[in-house]
Every structure is written in structure tokens, then in C-alpha cells.
């Protein structure tokens, strides 16, 4: 059985991510599950399953994310530090990391040597976060993947001006009822979200390259529009959702 040196657990608001690394920091496994309200039981169960295939008896455990308080861990570190660490080690470069999560957006400036120089998060409201698209996806009964495809293929867009995720939903509906084309409205919705993110990037002082993490990074429309707005092609890890857990696991290595 392979020996796991360190495990990172990212208990986010929508998903639970677990990553194990060996002593060089290479990823041995990664698990993603929808977050269960009973996070403690869920992590115990997942770790139990991992025990069948990996030697995790002496692994360090570092937890991060909103649910981290409920997890037994050797260390607890915020998502900011973990994402920065994960992204930096993945791409081996400083720059601007943008993590678009379920309820939070974070923009992190990372120095050449991998330190967090500055960061900002969205304010309380959820516009610009993953939830912004999910609400509408649920309302229109179209998957977020399908929405992204529609947005990319659309040759036009309707301006969605609302700043609030709840109001935006009603604005989408009223635009549709006014006879606007679905793909135009959806493209406008993506644009509104991306604009919120880019304004955060500018607020902190954009320093390329742009690196994405978090579930929404997989959304092709968002990536494409970020490129349009910032004039910089974003670097996207193969598995952007696990960057926080990966960073947490790496932090465990130096414990």
C-alpha cells in the first residue's frame, strides 16, 4: 500500500474535497463529493474507504473550508492560504489566483516565491459566485454546462444590470417574458457574473498570469469571458476544484 504523507480536506459550502500526497507533494488520490451537512461523519466515512487502498495511518491532516471546524485535523488553515499554496505549486508561478466557489469568490495575489501578498473576497451578496448561475440553472431547468454552451454559441447578449443574485433571477425571467432569446439572456447573465469577478481582480491590482481554481473554473463560458475582459488567457488546472485541498495537503508536508 502506498504511504500517504499528508491529507488535505477542503470542506466547502457545496462540496467536500480530499487530496492525499506523498512526501514529494505528488497527488496520490483525490475525492470530490457533494457536501453532507454532517461533515464529520462524511469525512470519517471517506477516510475509512481510503484506508482500504492507502496507508494513511501516520498521515498529517490539514483541514480548510467552512466546515473545517468539524473535522479532526492536525492543523486548520483558511482557504485563501490553501488555494494560494495549491495553485502556486501546481503552476510553479506567482500571479493572480481567482477561486470561484459556490458562495465565495476569492482573488489572491501570489508573490514570485509563493506567498500571499494580498487577497479580497466578494461581499456578503452572492452575485458573481457559482450560486449566481446555479439559481438560474435551477429556475430554467437547464444544467450549468448547457448554459455555458448556450452562452458561448450566442452571437449576442442582453445586459443584465442587477447586482443581486436573487434579483438577477427575476430579471432573467422578465427579459425572457419580453421575448429576448434564451441564449442572449444567458450570455448576459454570464457577463454580469464575470464583470463582478473582473472588478475584484482590478480592485486588487491585476498581476498576470491569471490562474483559476474552484468548480466554476470548469465553466468554459466564464473562462472565455474572463479572457475577454482581462485580455489574458487563464491557466486552468486539470482539476480546479481540488486546488484548496491540494494546498492543504502540501501545508501538511511542512508540519
Amino acid at each position: 500500500m502506498e504511504k500517504v504523507k499528508s491529507i488535505g480536506i477542503d470542506a466547502g459550502s457545496t462540496t467536500l474535497k480530499i487530496v492525499g500526497v506523498e512526501e514529494e507533494g505528488k497527488i496520490l488520490f483525490s475525492v470530490i463529493e457533494d457536501a453532507d451537512p454532517k461533515i464529520e461523519e462524511q469525512t470519517d466515512k471517506l477516510l475509512g474507504e481510503l484506508r482500504n487502498n492507502y496507508d494513511i495511518e501516520n498521515s498529517k491532516i490539514v483541514a480548510t473550508g467552512y466546515g473545517s471546524n468539524l473535522i479532526k485535523a492536525d492543523k486548520k488553515v483558511t482557504e485563501i492560504t490553501c488555494h494560494a499554496k495549491g495553485i502556486y505549486e501546481y503552476f510553479k508561478t506567482g500571479g493572480t489566483a481567482v477561486d470561484i466557489g459556490g458562495q465565495d469568490n476569492k482573488v489572491i495575489l501570489i508573490s514570485k516565491n509563493g506567498k500571499v501578498v494580498d487577497f479580497i473576497m466578494n461581499d456578503k451578496c452572492a452575485s458573481g459566485t457559482g450560486r449566481f448561475l446555479e439559481n438560474t440553472s435551477w429556475r430554467l431547468k437547464i444544467s450549468t454546462e448547457k448554459m455555458a454552451e448556450l452562452a458561448i454559441s450566442s452571437d449576442n447578449e442582453v445586459k443584465i444590470s442587477s447586482t443581486c443574485a436573487v434579483f438577477a433571477e427575476s430579471e432573467v425571467i422578465s427579459q425572457l417574458s419580453r421575448g429576448q432569446k434564451l441564449e442572449h439572456v444567458i450570455k448576459g447573465l454570464h457577463r454580469a457574473m464575470v464583470k463582478r469577478i473582473t472588478s475584484m481582480v482590478y480592485a486588487i491590482g491585476f498581476n498576470p498570469p491569471l490562474m483559476l481554481s474552484g468548480g466554476v473554473a470548469k465553466n468554459k463560458a466564464v473562462a472565455q469571458m474572463l479572457e475577454e475582459e482581462l485580455g489574458e488567457k487563464p491557466l486552468i488546472p486539470e482539476n480546479p476544484q481540488i486546488m484548496g485541498a491540494f494546498g492543504a495537503a502540501l501545508i501538511g508536508l511542512s508540519e
Binding site: S161, T163, F167, E171, K195, S199, Y202, A203
Partner: protein
Amino acid sequence: MNLRDSIKYLFSYKIAGETFIKLNTKKAFKNFKPPKSWRTDILAPPLKTGVYTKEIIAKHYLEGRYVNGVKPVAWVTSGAPIEILKALGFYILYPENHGALCGARKAALEISEEAEKKGYSMDICSYARTDIGSILSKKTPVGKLPKPDLLLCCTNICQTVLYWYRVLAEYYKVPLIVIDTPFVYDEAKEHDIEYVKKQLEASIDVSEMVAKKSLSFTKLKEIVKLSKMAAELWLEIMSSNKNIPSPISVFDQFIHMAPIVEKRGDAVTVDFYSKMLKEIKERIKNGIGAVKNEKKRVLWDNLPIWYKIKFLSEFLAEHGVSVVASTYTNAWGELAPMMDIERPIESMARTYTYPILNRGTGHKLKTMEMMVKEFDLDGAILHSDRSCKPYSVGQVDQRLKLLNELGAAALLLEADHNDPRAFSDEQSKSRLKAFVEMME
């Protein structure tokens, strides 16, 4: 004065620009007809003298493009005592008016986003965001704004301008004059007026230093006289709306008030409002109302919603509602009688302490009650302006009093004067409809 700048100013503004604008005005006046999109079915045609509003404003901003190096430039708040600066030959720019212009041309959002990108909160005044965004990005619908040599900030409209002008002073590294006007809870005290007077006197030194010349009191008196005359005419124009039907609407006033704010103290402004008053009297004689089928008359409280003027004006006109009076446009006329040409500084101290925005919430209620009676009104629309706390705080009580004590229908309309994100078409329509039904 810089020679190259002066030559450019002379050719581009004085010779080519002015001539072109004047010709345009002449043409527009001769072939006067409403714009295609004008709803002639529900509204009277726009005022013919309105072509001069365009001319005055176009000239003002065109001059601004070439004025640096030719005249000293001051950026001032909308309620600032500009007479001293005018007498010293300053070119005066009003960032708030520029903000309103951006709003009316639907450019304010994009420009304020530039300020938001730099970390300015969405919860600060949308005029300030528009102004700061414009400075940071150089975006403006008027081409180019002149850089200030001096900043003059008077707190008689809000405290917000104080922090805003600190930001401007930081960006431009030029002197900032603050005229701090104690808030008038009931009546201004002697020491309040004395304090403002001393600040005005102290401001002369700084202004003279920037202008590199001394103030002529003869000139100052002349400016005060012109300022007073224009304000009196403006007041008369607004009063003419006591006529039923009202010859112009408050939405027209929002557009045509630009000169009284921006070109107060200029002879051209006096001339302009005399012409406008004549046209209005003509309308009254012919029984023309701004709203064709005027059934209900209401007042507007607070700043305009610049990006929705057409929408609101048409929606209300469709329902036979004419907005005939407003506390906002009134603010540039109501103090005219206080100006005393023989005692310019003393009377300025008093006049500039007494704007409605520097007075208590009870005073504003009284003003609205007076309007309801004098203008024979059926209701009031109180624009609850997210961006303007001093104007908006008190409206909840004022609305109830208007409703309960005068029996006037009163609506609190949630919006923002320059940020379209705070306005919802659908929601506003349903509220306005309910308001109209209340009056029936």
C-alpha cells in the same frame, strides 16, 4: 497664461467651435421640431428655447476642453458660492453636473464601474463614483474635462462632498477650499453665519493666489447681481407651473436647470431664462400644458433619476399625471431674494447656509406642504435616493405627514440618482400605477 494653449483655445473654441455651435442652434431653432421619439400624443412639444440649453452646455464643455492654460479652472460642488471665483475669471466645472450628464446619457454605470474597480464601494454616492471613475479612466461623453487648479467644496448639500473632494485634492494635488456650513436644525445662529462669512473671506486669498490676480468688488457685485437675476427668473419659471395645466413639467426643468447651476453669474444665463419665461407665458396664453391630458398634479422630491427621465415622464403622462413642482429644482431659485448686491459677502454667507439640503427634515416637509397648496397638487413622489442620505433621511416621516395631514397621495420610490442597478423598471411601474390609482 500659456501662448500655445491660448492660440488653441482661440481657434478651436472661440472661432471654430463657437461659430459651429451657434450655427447649429440657429438651424435647430429655425427648423424646430420634436425629436422622432418624442411622444407627441401625450406630451406638449419640447420648449423651443430648449435649443439654447443645448447651446450653453455644449459651449461650456467645449470651452472646458481647451481652457487649461488659458483661464484658471475650479471644480466646485453644486451649492458652492461661486461668485468670488467668477469675479476672478475662473472657468468653473461642476462634477455633479457632469455626473448627471453621464447619467442622462446612460454612461454613468460604465464610468462608475471604473471607480469600483479601484476599490470605491458601491455604497458611496453615485455622482462621486461617476466623477472618480471618469478621472481614473478619462471616460466622459463630453470629450475631455479640464484639470482643476483649485477645488471648492461647500458642505451645504451634504458631508459626502467633503470626503469626495479630499479624494480629488489627492489626485490633482491642488488647493482645496472647504466652506463648512453648519446644519440649520431650525434657524441659523449668528455664530453660524459669522463662521461661514469668515471662511468666505479666507477663501478670497487662496482663490486670488491661484488666479494670480486680486478680486474686484465691483466685479463681484456685478456677478452677484447676475446670479440673483437668473435665480429670480428661474423662480418665476417654476412658479408659472401654478397655472393649470402646467406649461412645463419638472422633467423639463431637470434638463433646463443646467444653466442656473452651471452658468450662474453669467449674462447669457439671464438672457436665456428671460427667453424661456417668454415662451412659457406664451404657452399659458394658449392653454398648452406639458402633459396633454393633465388630470393629476404631483410634486417630485429629491434628485432626478437621471437615466429614467424619459421613462418616468412618459409613464406618468400616459396616466394623465403631470409633475409640476419639485423641491430639487426649487433649490436654485428659492434663495434668490436673500442675495443682497450691496453686501455680497454677508448675504452670500446667509444664502449659502440656507439651501433646503442644509435645513431640517421639518423644513422640507413645510416646503412640500406649501407646494401642495400653492400648486394645487394631488400627490407627491418622494424619490428615496440610495446615494443621497441627507436628502432622503426624513422622507419616511414626510410621506406619512403628506398622506395623513394633507390627504395627498404620496409614494416613496426606491432608486438612485445615477446608478441604474438600483432601479427596477417592473417594480417601479407597478408602484407608480398603484400611486396613480390612489389619486383616482
